[in-house]
């Protein structure tokens, strides 16, 4: 099947309006939240699983790749068509199919927006726990593919801990459930293996997610520090003292500045770092935990500890935290966010290294991160127009990841490998480790049809890749 025949076949499957081939139509799909751009050839937007299955079969006959795409907020180039072919957009899969509160589960289509799941059940006292900062825009399918986390995954776990089963379309068009609606489906935990596979194993068309009951009480505090070391030491002490908060988030001086310039929430602009500690549970438990956490903050040199007095104050803190990425634009024309992880015990050392890297590369780095998980997000600020700066930025980003690996950590905590970090994955895994992953890939997708040239350390892709940072409209994820 040549390209023309393929297009005809795709139009037959999904209907002409849902096959995009003109440059002005496909250009919006050339990038995700990362810096990578590749102009797509064909974008299809199927409406149901039968159509997805037929599209996959057509791609197979035509021997072209398929790149699944959710909301395109991914930060590692996962949804960019590195090797051309078909972008399969799941935006029409936007229905919550079943809400089953008695059984604490919901079945949703992959295009459903993360926050909409919680919105649909909040009035009944339930929520969907994984809450990426992009939750107002990103899709559950994208979350599954990237095994996304968020501020509250410290206590509740990341996406994989909340997915019971998925319906997927395999490389031959077959539709199969992995896992189910209850725990322990007999056989290999293929659902667990699929989650986090970044679109390289198949297309997710349904997801059974766990719903959790909202807690009786939530308490949140903001601790203000004049030294980043004090803040990171506080985090280490809080977890090692046996308090497991629902969230432990740090923002450094530059991030505070960004938020206060953009949509101010009243963070102190002269502070070196602020730490948000949130605890959830029964009222006695949160009362005591917040007291203990306050003590630990003070003991570690917090200049001030403010406990949110009501929900409005609490929401304001979170508005500042969740808006931080979007506010980076107030500091510099461009920013590049990294996503390393270190054991929590290494957090103080790691933040010292980030500061050193910032000096070494002469680049400003704003840090806003999931400190309780040891998951860093250095935002490297720069100006694309300065020649050679982007290359230096990428090098500095890599240096932060290198430091994470040296301290026993990982190159990505939640954003995924995608195109961005495939050259770095060898820092963590040797050839035999990677070959084992390839075996799994091969069992699912022997022809590398799904999202080729991602995740594995393959040579540069053949598509024309351009680097173009910071094109996501600010405000998308407020």
């Amino acid at each position: 099947m040549d390209k023309r025949e393929l297009i005809t076949e795709l139009r037959r499957i999904v209907g002409t309006p849902y096959v995009l081939i003109e440059k002005e139509d496909v250009i919006v799909y050339e990038q995700d939240g990362s810096i990578f751009q590749v102009m797509p050839e064909i974008v299809v937007v199927p409406a149901n699983v039968e159509e997805v299955s037929a599209v996959v079969r057509a791609a197979r006959s035509a021997s072209v790749p398929i790149v699944p795409r959710g909301s395109g907020t991914g930060l590692a180039g996962g949804a960019v068509p590195a090797e051309g072919g078909i972008i399969l957009s799941l935006t029409r899969f936007d229905r919550i199919l079943k809400i089953d509160l008695e059984n604490h589960l919901a079945i949703v289509e992959p295009g459903v927006i993360n926050l909409d799941v919680t919105k649909a059940v909040a009035k009944d006292g339930f929520f969907y726990a994984p809450d990426p900062s992009s939750q107002a825009a990103c899709s559950i399918g994208g979350n599954v593919a990237n095994n996304s986390g968020g501020p509250h995954t410290l206590a509740y776990g990341v996406t994989t801990n909340h997915v019971l089963g998925i319906e997927v379309v395999l490389d031959d068009g077959e539709v199969v459930w992995l896992g189910g609606e209850v725990a322990d489906t007999p056989g290999y935990d293929l659902c667990g293996v699929f989650v986090g596979s970044e679109g390289t194993m198949g297309i997710v068309t349904k997801i059974a997610v766990k719903l959790m009951q909202t807690r009786e009480s939530v308490r949140t505090l903001l601790a203000i520090f004049d030294d980043m070391d004090f803040a990171t030491n506080t985090v280490v002490e809080i977890t090692s003292e046996g308090i497991i908060p629902a969230a432990l988030e740090i923002m450094d001086h530059m991030s505070i500045e960004a938020v206060e310039r953009g949509a101010p929430v009243g963070f102190p602009r002269d502070a070196a770092a602020v730490l948000i500690v949130e605890v959830e549970g029964l009222s006695e438990q949160t009362e005591r935990s917040i007291m203990l956490a306050s003590e630990i903050c003070r003991r570690n040199g917090a200049r001030e500890v403010k406990v949110a007095k009501n929900d409005a104050e609490r929401q304001l803190l979170w508005k500042g935290r969740k808006g931080a990425f979007g506010a980076m634009g107030t500091l510099a024309p461009n920013y590049y966010v990294q996503d390393g992880v270190v054991p929590r015990s290494q957090l103080p050392e790691m933040m010292r290294r980030v500061a050193a890297i910032s000096k070494e590369f002469n680049l400003t780095i704003a840090n806003v991160f999931h400190a309780g998980d040891g998951n860093l997000h250095p935002n490297i600020l720069f100006d694309m127009r300065n020649p050679g700066e982007l290359e230096r930025v990428i090098e500095a980003g890599a240096a932060t990841l290198r430091a994470c690996v040296e301290l026993g950590g990982s190159i990505t905590g939640e954003h995924g490998v995608g195109m961005e970090k495939k050259a770095y994955i060898g820092w963590l895994f040797n050839d035999a480790d990677l070959a084992a992953m390839t075996r799994v890939r091969h069992a699912f997708d022997p022809d590398n049809r799904f999202n080729p040239a991602k995740l594995f350390p393959t040579p540069a892709s053949c598509g024309e890749v351009r680097l173009e940072p910071g094109k996501i409209p600010a405000g998308l994820w407020k």
């Binding site: 008695e102 095994n147 056989g187 009951q213 046996g242 029964l282 929590r344 990505t412």
Partner: protein, 423 residues
């Protein structure tokens, strides 16, 4: 097997030392799996030795069964072949306990109790209440996916394992995951080996999330009729209380039903929850007992041990949590001994090992499927396995599972036949 047993034994002894290999008849008999006796037992002292042993066995096309504490060897179907039992008992070290990171890295042959003793020094523990912790090993717990009563609040084995080292059939040692609690670098290979019953590789090292030991813990056991206990459970589930375990238990022999609820946490949180539950139970006419300490530990350990009870048939029926009570009601006529995890939807049914009991399986499978769940025989004397696949009907993804097995163990040498659908 391509080689004579004696030759294989010599090769293993030459590489690992004579002490590491045994063909002693009594020992062999003690390591039979479902009545199938191995020809050799090999107990390597290091992960590298284990890898070397796998390579030697694989070259000889010898069927291997990894063996931890041997507590769950009756899980699965009888092996199609069994030449060498590979024991992890000498791999019993804690490699690192990073208490500030709340993680521990251990060799797979360490027993759960031995690990708990080390973690306790830093007031931490591994929140997996697996059966027979004095014998069961971390590797076995992970491979067999053995969970315990507090699973719904602390997480399942699959949630707590964050890193591994595994010997593949090629004799290579690979690493999966790492030691950080959040990690999406590459595929989540730990999920593949967790619960795979040693059919894809032999786990030599595991990194786990651990938890702070709760400051306080109490269990309330309320007893009464089925209706009373069920009603109390429903009321409890309608509250914001946060039990660490929530079980309905029928001790059998026409004794009364028990609703056992444990609470972990600060003294005042535990006290409040105990009081609120008591206040719920009283008007329903249930009798109550609050237990702590050793008595509490023993009570829950008995529940945790039930899945591996010997000479009994143990069914595991898993249904959505809302269907647990309906499910129990449908088998009430048989009055089995049972315990049900109300939060997970897992019902453990214990019955005498006889034909009538086994005939129940199709009924349980059909019922569980109607509820969108599943039923397996978790444990049964070998005789009863001959005509039944203990895993129940093959799941829809079975073809894919076979492909995975083919990729990792093409010659079918790791625990052949014991896993689902003949894998």
């Amino acid at each position: 097997m391509k080689l004579a047993t004696e030759q294989l034994g010599q090769r293993l002894a030459a590489d690992l030392g004579a002490d590491a290999v045994s063909a002693d008849e009594l020992r062999l008999a003690a390591h039979a799996i479902d009545g199938v006796t191995p020809k050799l037992i090999c107990a390597p002292s290091t992960a590298e030795q284990l890898a070397a042993a796998v390579k030697i066995c694989a070259d000889a096309q010898a069927a291997m069964a990894p063996w931890g504490g041997g507590t769950a060897m009756s899980l699965g179907n009888p092996p199609r072949a069994l030449d060498v039992v590979l024991k992890t008992s000498h791999l019993d070290q804690v490699i690192e306990h990073d208490h500030a990171n709340l993680t521990a890295t251990v060799q797979s042959g360490i027993t759960l109790n031995a690990l708990q003793a080390v973690l306790a020094r830093q007031k931490q523990f591994l929140p997996i209440d697996a059966p027979l912790p004095e014998r069961s090993t971390i590797g076995g717990i992970v491979a067999a996916n053995l969970n315990g009563p507090r699973r719904s609040s602390y997480g399942s084995v699959r949630d707590l394992v964050i890193g591994m080292k595994v010997v593949l059939a090629s004799g290579e040692i690979i690493k999966a995951g790492g030691k950080v609690v959040k990690n999406v670098a590459g595929y989540d290979m730990c999920k593949l080996f967790t619960g795979a019953l040693g059919t894809l590789g032999i786990v030599t090292e595991v990194t786990l999330r651990v938890a702070p030991l709760p400051a306080h813990s109490s269990t309330v056991i309320v007893s009464g009729t089925w209706a009373q206990a069920a009603q109390c459970a429903n009321q409890l589930m309608g509250t914001k209380l946060l039990p660490s375990a929530m079980f309905l238990v029928n001790p059998g022999a026409n004794r009364s039903w028990q609703l056992a609820i444990s609470f972990d946490g600060f003294e005042e949180t535990v006290a409040r929850q105990v009081n609120e539950l008591s206040a719920m139970a009283q008007p329903l006419g249930l009798s109550q007992e609050v237990i702590h300490g050793e008595k509490q530990r023993q009570y829950w350990q008995e529940i945790a041990d039930l899945p591996v009870s010997q000479n009994r048939v143990i069914y595991r029926v898993t249904v959505p949590r809302g269907a647990v009570q309906r499910t129990i009601a449908t088998i009430a006529d048989l009055a089995p001994q049972l315990c049900a995890d109300l939060a997970m939807g897992t019902i453990w049914i214990e019955m005498p090992a006889n034909q009538t009991t086994r005939d129940l399986f199709p009924r349980l499978i059909a019922w569980a499927q109607q509820q969108r769940g599943h039923a397996t025989i978790f444990n049964t004397p070998a005789e009863l396995k001959r005509t039944t696949d203990v895993w129940g009907p093959v799941p829809p993804a079975h073809a894919l599972m076979r492909k995975i097995k083919q990729e990792f163990d093409p010659a079918g040498l790791f625990n052949p036949g014991r896993f689902i659908g003949g894998i």
